[in-house]
Symmetry: C2
Subunit: 233 residues, 2 copies
């Protein structure tokens, strides 16, 4: 007779596709395969792993989705340069993410923009500064910035340019993925009864800091610029 | 005759599984389904989409991998709380990531740790500070810190605690995933002929800043602490 069911936890079984996926990843790593190297055929893999071809196809499909393998005409499956963010891209959607995750992502944006000063300074050039200035000038002279939508568009254009200037491709792509969440949160903020106050630092101030200041000054000015969003913490 | 082949780009065809995956995502979003809601049966989906059941299973398998759906006993497939990072976790491995991505990730870590000061301060409590102090004290009194491995272990323990103190679950989990890459890069640094110099700020200084300082001071001290890694920029 079972005395205490507390010790009878249901056994967590990985599905067959999970197991085959892990085996394939192990195989790729152990053999130190690199981009362009061919994979064994589906039938061969199925035979070696002792599973049906459908299961192998299912696992390969996952790896393809993550950019770990790709199908090449005539060459079959080959190893690809894996994409860190392709899985993130698929779920980054305000309609399917939970509130807690959304809040986390919004905070993450604040952390990244305050923290990326050194990267921007290390890769700074006049051309990029001119582009930033152009955005800020168009924003300042646009009569339609009373509309939230127009204001948001300039905000996104300016900050996207900063991510680009970080010279870090992963960071840049992550920011692009953040945009739907960012938009959603800004619209939520706009609905608040008490509108968050504007920070004391505007886009022109940030440009001036990049031209004549230091990474440390940039961090503090960016923090000040983002103050309205920090009130939510 | 074709005059200019420049305009004849190969057509990018999404695989059938890609298309079914997108359709299912559209379906989930449009119907505003939320966690726990059941999905139609595989056979039903196959019929509606006009594809084989295998293709539907393949697409569902991807969504399951991303944590968007899960299989429940007796209930079949239900919508799950999607996991932003499950795709990232799978590819975050020094053996399969390219050098450029590895460099990006390492930079990302510097950005996050310098930028997360405000989150840590917003959620600061005495208990966490005591835990940090304990780590720093164990590190200071350990005779084995001349070994890179031991030093790395303390470094990771201390910085992991800081991520935890940010109170941002996505950030915290992302850091855990970073560890293999972080380890790899530190070992690479250790192989350099000219060892990077230590920063002027140690773990005790960082704790003191958390106890008595401001987020701005924390940012600057963390930046100083991480100086050896910034020389790679």
């Amino acid at each position: 007779m079972i005395k205490n069911t507390r010790y009878l936890q249901p056994i967590k079984t990985a599905s067959l596709a999970d197991q085959v996926e892990s085996s394939l990843m192990e195989y790729l790593k152990r053999n130190k395969l690199s981009a362009g190297d061919p994979l064994p055929k589906e039938t061969e893999l199925a035979e070696h792993l002792g599973v049906s071809r459908n299961i192998v196809r299912e696992a390969l499909s996952r790896l393809r989705m993550l950019g770990i393998v790709e199908s090449k005409k005539r060459k079959g499956m080959v190893l690809s340069e894996p994409d860190l963010l392709s899985g993130v891209k698929r779920v980054m959607d305000p309609d399917i993410l939970g509130d807690e995750t959304m809040k986390n992502i919004f905070e993450l944006r604040l952390v990244l923009e305050v923290g990326m000063g050194d990267l921007i300074f290390a890769r700074l050039n006049k051309e990029d500064l001119d582009i930033l200035t152009d955005i800020a000038q168009r924003e300042a002279s646009d009569p339609k910035t009373t509309s939230l939508k127009v204001r948001l568009a300039y905000e996104i254009e300016f900050h996207s340019k900063l991510y680009e200037m970080s010279g870090n491709d992963t960071l840049k792509r992550f920011q692009k993925m953040l945009l739907p969440v960012f938009n959603y949160m800004m619209e939520e903020e706009a609905k608040l009864e008490k509108k968050p106050e504007k920070g004391n630092i505007d886009h022109f101030d940030l440009i001036e800091t990049l031209r004549k200041g230091t990474p440390a000054q940039f961090r503090e000015n960016m923090r000040e610029h983002l103050t309205p969003h920090y009130v939510r913490l």
